[in-house]
Amino acid sequence: MTKRALITGVAGQDGAYLSALLLDKGYEVFGCDLSTDARSCWRLSHLGIYDKVTLLPADMADAVSLLRAVEQSRPHEIYNLAAQSAPGASFQSPVEYGNITGLGFARLLEAILKTAKQARIYQASTIEIFGYGKIRRLAADMPFHPVNPYAVAKLYAHWLGQMYREDFGLFVCNGIMFNHESPLRSLNFVTRRISNAAARIALGLDSELRLGNLESRRDWGYAPEYVDAAWRMLQQAKPDDYIISTGRWHSVKEFVVKAFGAAGLDWSKYVKTDPGLLRPVDVPFAIGDLSKAKKVLGWQPCVKFDRLVEIMVKEDLVRWQRHLKGEIFPWDAVNET
């Protein structure tokens, strides 16, 4: 029997990679997003699967549309990846973040409770729910402390996942993921901003890049590997929460140095810091405890930091070169810069 999966936020980075992974495994894939037109779903086109995913228009703010999507797809597995997902920007529109990223999951769970109780559910939780503290090693049962509206909304969803699992018997897994990047990352994330800028500066299209806190540190993994971890969680006998990380931290500055290096540039000539881009509260760092993911899921990150930066810069260089030659292909940067 063909397994069916429903992915919310299918047009995003993780949605696209996960669709590709599941199609590869023989799943029938249904995807929801706010807009399902080809331009909005450029990542699916980039991976060559735009016409292989059944797209359903549904909005996390609209309970009935979610109910319809669940009824229509009759999924065995549901991946809730839809979210307003930029922690920094969440200070600008906190209510929208709460509504989509937080309440959106409540609406989806209610729809599932009604029509797809047997489905297995993956909730894209995040390291941001832990915020700061003096924690050095981070395990899933550590105390939470969200430091931005995005994280507050994600923590709310995290608790919902746990509650519907324990009290309603739904198979819900919270995947507490650290940052994961790729050439499909949105341009409003710092990694992609850097890789895109390095490519543009290398080709003479720009002369500088402004960034907030260069000392800010993150644990950056490679997105295609992370969606594989999400899939593995739903194949276990019991639902549980897992931390997914690389266990290594690097500063934004290190990313900048590597990225500009990969484009053949000396970063110090082009990068300026701009205090206006600082988050009101930043996230200090902790090492994610990977032991459970390794032991239970057999999951381990392979693409390390240097390789990740290289993949991203190379891809952005190729894109801008193709663009300069007049080629037209699915891509985000031309529309946004």
Partner: protein
Amino acid sequence: MLKKALITGISGQDGSYLAEFLLSRGYEVHGIVRRASTFHTGRLDHIKLGHDERRERLFLHYGDMTDSSNLNRVLEKVRPEEIYNLAAQSHVQISFEVPEYSAEVDALGVLRLLDAIRETKVKARFYQASTSELYGKVSQPHQDERSPFYPRSPYATAKLFGYWTVVNYREAYGLFACNGILFNHESPRRGENFITRKITLGIAQILAGKLDFITMGNLEARRDWGYAPEYVELMWKMLQAELPVDYVVGTGEQHSVQEFIEAAFAYAGLDWRKYVRTDPRYLRPAEVDRLCAESARANQELGWSPRVKFAGLVKVMLDADMRALGLKPIGEGDALLGKLFPHRWWGPD
């Protein structure tokens, strides 16, 4: 100039007591009430329809926690120095029936209000009505400000969202914002569908010959029940402190629903076994078994020392419900209040 306070949820149990308390302290009090085809401001009638000058200082504005532009407008207009966010869908069991609405009001509502404060640049201190339900499935006998949270209902998860939003706005924007993590607090103004009030009102109705029995859910649940007027004073004290801090507030005594029933029926001179039935329909999908406050911080920093304890609370509530139904109260509750609060600021219940 008079100090101005804004109370969301002013028509509720806590809101109405707080309004009276602030009026007694000389405040100009503004409250937000939802526009509905029926008035639900009965708890304020004795002020609004009274003859003393307090009514001149009480202002009601139509509004709703789901409407940002409205919250913005009210803030612009009132420009309060203190804001008490008491508005909520506050019934735990009902939150399982209306989870999304509960989250709209109890979670996003807090965020809308805080964001409206930021937007309008109103220089106000902020009180958030947090709740012992945040602790949910507890692992320790007592809960203080450092105890881990474990919400067990859509109400509690939504309130936890509100709690963290307050912490975040305090840390990110330096807002003077406090979470009052209040344990159950009751009074004759408690909603009739809350367990304590359901019991005392039920008994009064039985005594009046209007009811044969009451139907209850889980009798084993254990709670820390206090007397609401004492709690709203603490809300005010939190905002007068030097620094914004979160406080746990409760009596530190724990009793079961069963004990509440026994105490209340015994006070009325009835054998509870004849009048109490249980029905699994009244059980929550997920129960919170026990809650008990450790209020050392509030005790040390705010001088918290609750005077009405469990046994007295039961009598106060039953006396009031009997009076409301035209019966002569047994009177021990009324006497207790007279003794404990010679200068009480709240009107008769």
